[in-house]
Subunit: 414 residues, 4 copies
């Protein structure tokens, strides 16, 4: 057992930390202003057209901080364990993932295309995504069914000659309000009579397909998240795409969705830890500066308790995420299934707790637009639903534990 | 001891419950739409100009559901204990307090004017407020000092002949973005050399006073709360008002602020309990309707646990608030000080917990604009700061408990 | 609504508080020593033979502080609402309930005999119990079934001529290790083929019945609770009693058990609040006296937070229990069912939390025999199981809430 | 970074797991019975004279499972990271640490003698301890001072010619009730005028020294812990030892205490994780077997939630402890100070939570002598005080965090 980083990760980490200080953090205000100007021109959703982002991307690419998330030949070729500490750092600024072309949902979509896409699909969609020229969305969740169970997905994809015809409703499709989200990966039911895990397939649907309607943006605690493309409600009315747009084989939908989940979760978790670290920084800084009843808040025992608890929780959480990454690298996503579930359970709850305390230390200002805490809180809160609410994951993890314990009991009695 | 409502309260309660069903709830969507139209005309903050609200007000007044909050001759003449169960009901809809002319911060301001205002002040400002013709704001909190300790308030109010000249900065001034908030009660320092609790005074400052600048609206999570007038940041640059605008005597600022607090807190707490009840309703309804993994959520043990906990917590909380109201009526606001502090501590934390669970039962929809839960969450979260963060109140309550216990120990050893 | 005590309760309260100071608290050490001496003579379980207890009882009786728990002609005739504040006070000392002849499980057993006993049964058993001459046990819980569902009770009671023959196993039979627990109320199955709630009956079984074996005392966190008769495991081997020993009618067992529960729970809850008050007293006293890192613990913010939280929680809890008592008096035990369940859920959890904090303030001493906190902790912890674990009650309360909400929804749509 | 065990640890782990199954667990009941018999002979504290323990020790030693805790030449020579997973396993049974000669407080005392003892001291005391022939105690904590701050220790050690004369009071001296605890390491004040951290020294005091009085055993909840030597209160009345009994130099007391802490804490934490694992096993087994309301408890959502939470918390905690061990090995105990503090904070709280849930799943039986859960609960609860209550450690850790953040802020502004 060894808790030290390897030299390549160490080097990238230094590089990235330096880039955060020199480029990312100074750009945060600029981005906000430029996006505001765009909004006044009626284009508030087109967040990735903001000039400063293009500059950041060029700089990141030049430094070799590009597509770090993607293993294999198409990306930086890092293991999950190597990428994890870097993803954490990008979590500290809203701008960083986009600047490094490591932002969800594009990352997961690129993985899907890299793993399951045909040569033409990769040519047409993966390449511009890897170059950061276009963006994409992943359209799975539906308003009418409990989408935490992916086998419920009901949007209909029917074959008609050499086309698929799509009908249905989706919502919470992150990034899809952005007009530059050119391509959607849509999950739907191709064969209602197949075995339960083989009923769904995924197809590529270009944004401008006739019959695809962007209904509205969903809000999260008052935020429309236009600064990363919002969360759209979509309707598909007889949308037609060529059969070549199928990803993988007919009936592969559930399997592809599962494959996409593992890395996606671990990226979210690592970035969330970066958010927690940022929150602790802000909490400490505020606690030192703010005087109440004659002394800095930092000398109040209750606030110290929060700071200590935050540190102790973050350290535990990070190690759990890193171990899950290591398992994904060594025994595969399937072998790491329980650990991935564990980080999905632990991360949002822990980080939400820390953000709540950091906000409390800031007073009402902590809830306002003057600090990044409230926005972070909203984002983290949604993670307790993203690909299934906490309770679903806890239930599954407990079932697994009960099974393991039953096996162990039998073994010890044998 | 007796836990039954008296007949007058019982009668008003039936009246109000009926009004909620027949008028308030049906008007909620109408209000939202009409306010949206107003917004498109560039007047999004003028929430109380929305037509449906005028209709609701006329109807409420006709039914005798008007100014229920105000004891004494100027209002409905209810005790706190009588008003409390009615305030709870108004908490169930965002529209109800305004429809009954029982909305903060006007309620507190009317109390101040009724108790401390001169005849001309009451004529000019209290009467139109009681009639619901204008609105008002209470300008105390400042960005640069920990305002939970009111003696910190630093805005300068200097006498210059027969005028006061005001200079300073305020923020989180609720309702002040609304152009119809015609009058501000401003707290500031008139005598920096006086004894600590006699340095501040309150003056009436009309909205259109030269030098009074409305800088921006503060946001709470992602909400600007334009639907009840927002929370303004204000700047006072040599703002001048006649000395007749002083409320009470010079140096009375702190005392008036204290007097204003008690009823204000209890109203907030009662309405918050109404919010909690609404959350439980929505949670139960959703849990019955939503099917996941083959059965309604209502049959999941974890969700039942939340429902039971919510009910048990609400019942306790309500009784505590009612007892505080009873104490205010029987021993006065000062005698009820500890109990008022207790409800200030208990209410937001409890209701926040319940809202979080209600949201979780709704999935991501619970955080969206499709349910009132997320907005309620944001409002309740701010209450953990309103007139002092939880920690300040807990600290004071503990000091009081330690003192009482010390006295009891001495007594028992005597 | 009115939160003041009535004069009779007020008078008894003063009387009892005075008695606590003048008699009970000074006797606590004496009791411990005398019981220790008894133990050395081989009679450690005969706690109610300790001389000082006889003196306390005589004094209490003389003061009119006797059988306060019992409504109606046989006892003091108080309502539940009147008895509740008195029961709370007795909770502050381990000795008080016994001194006033208000100790469980005798209280519940006397209620059963007063309500359901025949004249001869009352003559033979109720009278000496009311006089405090003998003690009793209630034998319901069984090791082999989940006894939280009373219909599971499996001990067999078979009629054989004019006798009942009893076979089965019981455990956690409180008080039964005391040789002076002369009579056991035993619940068992008389008719396995009857309707589910009519299968069980209760019979009176004298302690010295042949075939009744006291197997061992159960321990609770290391305590054998010999100072109030322990918790016995019992075996019944063909134990025979005359048919006249049946309480009520054949098949009444479940109904009697239910009738016994309501008052029993409310007494436990009130006494538990007394324990919590005692804990807060000790916590405050210790916090003032103990110096660490240069200042009293009472000046540590975290400890103040515990003190404040304790106070706020106790106040809420007490009101909930009082309201449940009021409901029992006004609408009956059945009408108060949900509220009784609510106090059963809320009380042990809240008091356990407070005791944990009080212990923490005392350091390791808080867990030792030098303070009453650890013993109280063990007793309160068992209440989370007594007549059903928390989870069973929460589940039932949630079901009830869901039903009420469903009815309300239908009503509002009608 | 690498989360796999090295081969030597892997081998010892297999060896130890096998030993647990083949020897330790089957001996648990035997030990209890033999100790009971000893108790009837009046020697209940002499727990290490129980025959089955001698057999276990012989077997363990033969298998090379002996003194695993001790790095360097005197012990097994494992690193902390290697010993940690083994210590965890020993935590699963009360008997295992003693069987392997790895039980506190002897482990810490052996470390002290190995690191700081003179040759004659090691010959006389370390050797029989390493051979498991005698036992020892560490006498630091005092009833009259907050001993969490070791500089408070007030027992007087005065030089008189070639002797030290000791006067003072100690309590919670674990193991000292056992007549075979032959040697006590006593910390006391040798120079009240020295610099604060140089006032104390440690001396070796044989049990049978005249003037050393064993007053009584302290209880923890209701346990006297006679099965591992209890926790004694001691008085020193002019106890005299030769100056050669000084450990290290005069004034080294504080430094030796600090050196002893690191490994001691990590051993406690690892064993505690073993306790938590055992609790999860028992919880799962019970949940599968116990039927209530028609289905096994394992199908209740709330219980699944506890199982999932337990697993997620244990995984995080173990990684934190392992990382602390790794840091101790790589940067030394001082460098690992914050991490050691973190595990001291996190471990008892987490394990207490898990034990509480495991108990709850067992019903009242979980609190009784029929399961190891209640005893484990008592032991874990004391860890929240052992070498300082949680709050002291949290406060220190927060201070450290605030300092680190302040440095980082300065750096980023430079």
């Amino acid at each position: 057992m060894d808790f030290a980083l390897d030299p390549r990760t160490e080097g990238l980490r230094d590089n990235l930390l330096d880039f955060m200080d020199s480029h990312i953090h100074p750009a945060e205000d600029v981005f906000r202003k430029q996006l505001g100007q765009l909004g006044q021109l009626g284009d508030r959703w087109a967040w990735d057209s903001v000039p400063v982002l293009a500059e950041l991307r060029a700089a990141a690419r030049k430094r070799g901080l590009w597509n770090l998330f993607l293993p294999g030949e198409h990306g930086a070729g890092l293991t999950n364990l190597q990428y994890a500490p870097l993803a954490e750092i990008t979590g500290r600024s809203h701008l960083a993932p986009a600047a490094l072309n490591c932002a969800a949902p594009d990352t997961g979509n690129m993985e899907v295309l890299a793993m399951f896409g045909t040569e033409p699909q990769r040519k047409q969609w993966l390449e511009p995504l890897l170059d950061g020229e276009i963006r994409s969305s992943f359209a799975m969740t539906e308003p009418d069914v409990a989408s935490s169970d992916a086998t419920n997905i009901a949007t209909r994809i029917e074959r008609d000659g050499d086309q698929y015809v799509i009908n249905g409703r989706k919502w919470w499709i992150t990034g899809a309000m952005n007009p530059n989200a050119r391509i959607f990966i849509v999950m739907g039911k191709t064969d209602p009579n197949a075995e339960r895990h083989r009923q769904q397939s995924m197809v590529l649907v270009p944004r401008d397909s006739p019959g695809l309607e962007i209904k509205r943006g969903m809000e999260v605690l008052g935020y429309d998240d236009h600064d990363h493309g919002g969360h759209a409600e979509l309707e598909f009315h007889d949308v037609r795409v060529p059969v070549e747009n199928l990803i993988g084989a007919d009936g592969d939908g559930f399997a592809i969705a599962q494959a996409r989940l593992g890395p996606g979760r671990i990226h979210h978790c690592m970035r969330s830890i970066g958010i927690a670290e940022r929150a602790v920084e802000l909490m400490c800084a505020r606690a030192e500066q703010r005087i109440a009843f004659g002394k800095p808040l930092a000398e109040q025992g209750v606030i110290r308790d929060w700071i200590a608890e935050s540190r102790v929780r973050i350290e535990q959480l990070r190690l759990l995420v890193l171990k899950a990454a290591w398992l994904m690298d060594t025994v595969g996503n399937k072998g790491a299934h329980t650990e991935i579930q564990a980080i999905k359970i632990a991360t949002p709850a822990t980080v939400q707790w820390i953000l709540d305390k950091a906000i409390q230390v800031h007073g009402a200002a902590g809830l306002s637009q003057d600090f990044p805490l409230a926005g972070a809180y909203a984002r983290i809160r949604t993670l307790r639903f993203a690909d299934g609410p906490d309770e679903v994951h806890k239930n599954a993890l407990a079932r697994h534990e009960l099974r393991c314990q039953a096996v162990a009991r039998q073994h010890s009695h044998a």
